[in-house]
């Protein structure tokens, strides 16, 4: 059973990864900025097609081979796990290598052919963007945090009646498979972990409000509508994760306090529902919305404009993946190669956030 779920997840992520170029802005390919005059270049389309085919055929074939190997030879569980992990890393590595090759090819092409030469670089700002931006207010994220803290206090208030072994990990069958000695700290471990995740999501939601809008000079109205929608759905996705994580972990917390609530079928059902909801939401976000909202159709027509292009900010993107811009006050920016967000590593706030995040994770795991 586990092997099927694992293979299905691998195929799912690999297929999404393969079709990634389809969900991205046409003005960016393999992390390279492409001027409007070049977006229909056949060579770019060919590179993207090659990437998709390679991952789709090669990657999924490998996963299927792995699945049949595991089913037919029935290897030891640890062998299956290690081979599965090796496969996962191999797939990741291959897609990165393909990305890197195409990234370099495109940069070379762009430089030798001087794409966009003779066009004036323009930066567009919509003065009313923030007024139109409809992100969920932070209170939506704070209420689940309060709920978690409430459960935490409740657990501590029931300290004497708690079992002497506190579950810290649950297996795929819904039963706890790792325990820690009862102490104030081990009782607090789960709510603390949840608090870190909740705090992170709250931080993302507020950082998104401050993130710079990328309005395209030749498609002002279209890109504005798409960005507004993309940010709105990003905020909703964060909220969905916030709610589902709070509920699932709250349920686990309650089963610790009231052991009679434990029912492995409920636990399995809750976990499965959680995974399916998150996967469904991510799929909707990726396929229906797309990076920066590119998959959303906009009916507002833009006046066509020649001789201008967006600002080429390749120099701020290391390998097209990592954004470093000391001037830009945005903490979060839209990814170039991927659907979602990344951080501005030229901003000291991003580093503070990372140090706090990693520090608190290390701290909680040391406690246990």
């Amino acid at each position: 059973m586990t092997i099927f779920i694992f293979s299905a997840l691998l195929i799912f992520t690999n297929t999404i990864q393969a079709f990634l170029p389809k969900f991205l802005k046409s003005s960016e390919s393999f992390g390279v900025f492409i001027p409007d005059t070049q977006v229909h270049d056949e060579r770019i389309a060919r590179l993207e097609k090659g990437y998709t085919q390679m991952l789709l055929m090669g990657g999924n074939a490998l996963i299927l081979v792995f699945l049949f190997w595991a089913l037919l030879t029935n290897p030891k569980e640890e062998h299956t796990v290690y081979t599965g992990l090796a496969l996962l890393f191999f797939l990741l590595f291959t897609s990165m290598a393909l990305y890197a090759r195409n990234h370099v090819t495109l940069i070379k092409l762009k430089n030798t052919e001087q794409w966009g030469a003779g066009q004036k670089e323009r930066k567009v700002v919509d003065l009313k963007f923030r007024e139109q931006l409809k992100l969920l207010p932070n209170i939506y994220f704070i209420v689940p945090i309060l709920l978690n803290i409430g459960l935490w206090i409740y657990a501590l208030s029931q300290y004497d009646s708690l079992p002497s072994q506190i579950p810290t990990h649950w297996g795929p069958n819904g039963e706890a498979d790792a325990f820690a000695e009862k102490s104030w700290l081990s009782v607090s471990a789960l709510p603390l972990m949840v608090l870190i995740i909740q705090g992170m999501l709250l931080f993302f939601n507020s950082a998104m409000k401050q993130s710079g809008a990328k309005i395209q000079v030749r498609h002002k109205k279209r890109s504005r509508q798409q960005q507004l929608a993309f940010r709105k759905y990003s905020s909703w996705l964060l909220f969905l994760v916030q709610i589902t994580v709070t509920l699932l972990m709250g349920y686990f917390q309650l089963t610790i306090i009231h052991e009679d609530l434990i029912s492995s079928s409920y636990t399995m059902l809750a976990t499965l529902a959680f995974v399916l909801i998150i996967l469904g939401a991510v799929m909707f976000y990726t396929i229906k919305i797309g990076q920066s909202g590119t998959r959303i159709e906009v009916h507002e027509e833009d006046v066509s404009q020649d001789g201008v292009m967006d600002i080429d900010d390749d120099r701020h993107w290391k390998f097209g993946l990592i954004y470093v811009n000391k001037e830009d006050p945005s903490l979060m920016v839209e990814k170039r190669f991927g659907v979602g967000w990344t951080m501005n590593f030229g901003h000291v706030g991003s580093w503070i956030f990372l140090v706090i995040l990693i520090g608190s994770i290390v701290l909680v795991s040391l406690i246990l």
Binding site: K120, E121, R122, K123, V124, V125, D126, L127, K128, F129, R130, E131, Q210, S211, G212, A213, I215, V217, K220, I311, D313, H316, N325, E327, D328, P329, S330
Partner: protein, 129 residues
Amino acid sequence: MFIEIEADSTVPIYLQLAHQIIEGVAKGDLKRGDSLPSVRAFAADLGMNMHTVNKAYHYLEEKEFIEIVSKKGVFIHERSVRAATVSDTDRLKKELRPIIGEALCFSLSMEDLQALLTDIVRDIKEGPT
């Protein structure tokens, strides 16, 4: 309302920002009391230093086109569209003078200048033709 900044223009970026906001006011796209983005949000949208936006805002504030209310935000000034005061006219005269000097060097006649002005006014009010 969209603002467009040219990256490698000889006009400094803060002036480009200020000029376009003034034109927005002249055209009526920006009305008195309308809010403008915060310095941080504006700079993020530009992907540029907050200092640039600050400079533009102070330039506009000095000319009474915008009002910066601390903790509340930035707004188009109540007096943004106004009957020119003596000092407004004096400043315009002074700032136009070198341009007119240049025009005279290019041997533009009074009529040429008039036509140029009419053209610019139409362009600001109705957008480029």
